[in-house]
Symmetry: C2
Subunit: 360 residues, 2 copies
């Protein structure tokens, strides 16, 4: 991040409230800096909360000109489709922003300055670009470091991709802070990085260094915190992303995991064969088994200690039934830290704090 | 590959016969083109086979000047250390080669032309560089394609990294050809690519595309072959490389696996904590479990159908005992396709052919 107090406009032209608007929603909900507006001409004028249930008071505007009236210093690309190309509808808006000297934050695989028209606009207007997914050049192979003795590492894992692992991690961070603990958040994806101001997008590193990137971030964070909460990625059962997930699991080497699930997700995200999701309790077993593979026999294995449900697309009644069902099936505490607010997140935090109690 | 019939000199200065000389050994044993010499001043003059047990008749020479007397058209970097940097001892030799117009094949993560001195030498002498690990620019996310109906995919997997998965795959290819089958080899690492002349180094792609790269290669190969033999990478139990291994497993979606093990390997390669390897039969269970994660419940799960042992560092007596022990523990055929030659490889091929018989 090149600025200490950015004012951020979010670009989501034609795609705000679409399922790919994860970065927009994350920033609206968790960013420590002001979000001045969202740009999407297909939904303007309106209030962001009407579309995504968060960001009340943040206007949706139709054009960059309207956005500029709110004096942003940054234009954040707010959507992320599988494959990671810049949508064509974004390019003229990005060009205009860069030519006016606005900073652009991009979390897509495609680099902004790889488009000659955008590079020319940036050269013309001096608009800098922060590529959120650009990995450091000097990553190590993982497996050869351990975090500071006494620090505990928690990884959010999922029954599928895009079920809320970053959200759950951030809610756990907040809950542990409320409990008076020293906590660090490790961002591993573009949205988390845009919120936290640092991190490494582990899905964007050269594959040999997935675990090494995770290990470095965890060991660094553990120097200053007793709890390191790592944002999970993908799913061990997602055929496109499972490699990233396992590398992150083995590289971060958590003491505990929190399994995240979207109660309305029934098939693997983006899979054209309609691959069914596994049951929550089966996923618990899969993650716990995979975690043991990197450990020596004497090492205490990492357990899934709680289930975090995303019930945002269900009724209150069904949400309660889903929470009871998940707790019953898994034998673990279950909470929706967004629907239930601090009450839910505190339940997850209590399950995590019990891990340290057990090993003290 | 930019040439149809290259003449290859292998660069292994100071490192020939070192455990990182995998590419040199692979090319000496399997390359379809002539290898004219190996460069390593610390072992010259001698015969390659004295050091690595293969390549009889290929001289080890001390200098590039001596190598040039044998009229190579290509200088292949013959070693690969974890982390993938160019050894400093190689740089002056590479500079000299490039300035004389020799083509360089490089399988390391570090790119030859990223070194300004080497880039200048290449510009001066016109020596082209083939970066074996440079991935294609347009890789897809995996999980959405299936190979041609009727084609069978076999993946070699390992109890650890660098136990012989490429060697076993190439020996299986040869054995199936002897049996009259239409076979394709899918190279997934730099040595396999240097031998096959094509392929994608899955450890060098952006992490999100590991599975997509594997899937594309397998689907393409299945158009022309009934058997697609995929070179495995890393190990699910290696904390540094497990992500690549799982991505390759889920992306290639094999019908059968062959588990490779080095009988003298007892701890995870390169691991500073001395992490012990799992028993062969435990590894069989781990790979079979991981393979099921991407499959829908009705899909026949991929099984490990044979054990391939690398007994190159043991006596004949211990090799025989190890083969009997592995077969007994796993309940599967076991063979060392190098020590036993065609006889061993044919046993692995028979176990693989039985898979097709079972599903026909």
């Amino acid at each position: 991040m090149t600025q200490t107090s950015p004012r951020v406009a979010i670009l989501a032209e034609g795609l705000f409230a679409h399922e790919t608007a994860k970065t927009a929603i994350g920033a609206l909900r968790y960013a420590p800096y002001p979000v001045v507006c969202v740009i999407d001409s297909t939904r303007a004028p309106s209030d962001a909360a009407e579309h995504v249930g968060t960001g009340a008071g943040v206007p949706v505007v139709a054009t960059l000109a309207e956005a500029l009236e709110r004096e942003p210093t940054v234009l954040l690309i707010g959507t992320a489709s599988a494959g990671g190309r810049l949508p064509d509808a974004y390019r003229p808006i990005l060009a205009e922003a860069l030519s006016r000297g606005l900073e652009v934050w991009n979390g897509l695989h495609e680099r902004v300055l790889a488009d000659p028209a955008l590079a020319a606009a940036a050269a013309r207007g001096g608009g800098p670009v922060w590529e959120l997914r650009e990995p450091p050049a000097d990553l190590p192979v993982g497996g050869n470091r351990r975090p500071r003795e006494g620090a505990k590492v928690v990884l959010t894992v999922g029954t599928d991709a895009a079920v809320g692992k970053m959200t759950v991690a951030l809610e756990i961070v907040a809950a542990l802070r409320r409990a008076g603990e020293r906590v660090a958040f490790v961002a591993t994806g573009q949205t988390g990085i845009a919120i936290a101001g640092s991190g490494i997008a582990v899905d964007a590193v050269v594959a040999d260094f997935i675990a090494g990137a995770a290990e470095r971030m965890v060991c660094d964070a553990a120097e200053e915190a007793d709890w390191v909460i790592v944002e999970g990625q993908g799913s061990l059962m997602h055929p496109g992303f499972s490699g990233v997930t396992l590398g992150l699991l083995h590289g971060s080497a958590p003491h505990a995991m929190v399994l995240c699930h979207d109660t309305m997700r029934h098939t693997v995200k983006g899979n054209e064969f309609g691959l069914p999701l596994r049951a929550v309790e089966e996923c618990v077993g899969i993650y716990e088994a995979a975690a043991t593979w990197r450990h020596s026999p004497g090492h205490p294995p990492a357990r899934v200690v709680a289930i975090a449900l995303n019930t945002s697309r269900t009724s209150e009644e069904l949400a309660r039934a889903s929470l009871a069902d998940a707790a019953h099936r898994s034998g673990l505490p279950a909470a929706d830290p967004v629907r239930e607010g601090a009450h839910g997140a505190d339940r997850l935090a209590a399950a995590i704090l019990a891990v340290a109690g057990a090993s003290r």
